[in-house]
Every structure is written in structure tokens, then in C-alpha cells.
Point group: C2
Chain length 135, copies 2
């Protein structure tokens, strides 16, 4: 049943974004939902694209970069030169992603250290650590 469709607000609430944002993505050509009269109708393919776009955003990519990455998947080239160029593009992306992982690991290491200090400083008086309500 991948023939399911979605309304804009369904997708918006599923992904935790506004309908404005999704329409904006359409303005930018990132998705092209069908229409049922006036209303937009999103296919599962559209849904996946939006999901990938948001994944890109989470790691700091621009919308354009996200679509570039997404577009690496589809009409698989046959021309040799294009293939070589594609390989190059992919390698570049991979390198950046690995750099990002390193950055994240460094930051995680630092945070763990601070966390350790906190708990140590706290352990002198407390045994139970109750979570603080978010916000």
C-alpha cells in the first residue's frame, strides 16, 4: 500500500514543520505534489523527499545541498564522463560527512567530560538524580 497519499497538514504534523515550510519547499522546486482541484496531494515519494530534506537540514545542509544529494540517486547516468564526475561528487560529500562525524565525536567527548565533572561534583551530596522537566 505505497499508494497512500497525504495532505499538507498531515505531513506537516508528522515532521513537525509548518505547512508554510512545505509550500516553501514546493516554491523552491524541492517537491511537486499533485493537485486535487486546488488542494495539494502528496505521494509517498513526496513524503520521502521531504524526509530526506529535513535529514539534510539536521546536519546543517542547505535545502539546495539536500536536493543535490537526493538527486544523486535517480536517473543513473550511463555516460562515462558523467559517471566519473558523479563519483567525484560523491567522494567529496563523503569526505565532508566524515569530517562532520569527527567534529561531532570531538564535541561528544568534551561534553562527556564536563558531564563527568558535574556528576562528580554532585555525587558528594546527592545519590538520586531526578530529571529536570524539559524547558
Amino acid at each position: 500500500m505505497p499508494n497512500q497519499t497525504y495532505t499538507i497538514s498531515e505531513l506537516a504534523s508528522e515532521f513537525g514543520v509548518t505547512t508554510r515550510a512545505i509550500r516553501f519547499y514546493e516554491e523552491k522546486g524541492l517537491v511537486q505534489p499533485l493537485r486535487e482541484g486546488q488542494r495539494r496531494v502528496y505521494t509517498t515519494a513526496d513524503r520521502v523527499r521531504i524526509k530526506l530534506i529535513l535529514r539534510g537540514k539536521r546536519i546543517g545542509m542547505t535545502l539546495q545541498e539536500s536536493v543535490e544529494v537526493i538527486d544523486l540517486y535517480d536517473p543513473l547516468r550511463n555516460n562515462t564522463e558523467q559517471l566519473l564526475s558523479l563519483i567525484n561528487t560523491i567522494s567529496g560529500r563523503q569526505a565532508r560527512l566524515l569530517q562532520q562525524k569527527d567534529d561531532i565525536d570531538d564535541m561528544l567527548t568534551g561534553l562527556s567530560e564536563v558531564l563527568g565533572l558535574c556528576e562528580k561534583a554532585l555525587g558528594k551530596r546527592q545519590k538520586k538524580i531526578s530529571a529536570i522537566p524539559k524547558k
Copy 2:
């Protein structure tokens, strides 16, 4: 010899950013270099801050977020409530970073698959793959 100092253009070229960017960081209070007359003089501490800010940027953090993370390190709190709050903040950051790592891994997996297809499609005619000059 951590008493070294740097000019703005030294740091700019070392980090591959413009002097304008570094001055902008100062405007935003992210660094506070000394002055030698009119000229800005950066200490190694300033240099580290800038480095951390740029690390944050690479993984999609805003400048504000970067300083927030940096500021988690310094005047280690003693108040219990503040410590608990700090632990919470750190936990939140860690969660986000782990999410980012997952996103990156997913993307890397996808890219590797496409890369595999490329090389397979290419292997039928080519043995040597010469790198394409950048841009």
C-alpha cells in the same frame, strides 16, 4: 609557548575565513581580542574559541549555539540546581549529536551504494579510474 599572538589575517587565512567574518564574531561578542593601538591582537585562547565556533558551524550549529556549547566548559558551577540544569542541557546536546551521527551514517550508506553502482557500471569498460581535477 602558548603566549603567542595572532593578527586577524593570520587567523583568517589559517581557518579559511575572511577577516570580516572574524570581526563579525567580535561584534556578536563571541571573541574579545586585545588591542595594540588600533589593531586587534588575538591570543591562543581566542584562536581556540574561533576554532570551536567553526567546528560548530560545520555541523550546522548557529553561532549562538556554538558559544552556548563552549560556555558549558568554563566557570564550573557549584550550585546544585545549576549543576542539574547543566546536566540536562548537556544531555540534550548529546542526544542531538547522536541523532546527527545517525543521519550522517544513513547518508553515508546511501552514498556508498550509489558509488558501488557507479563503479560497477564503469567497470565494464574501464580499469583505471583517474581522478577528475576539482572544478
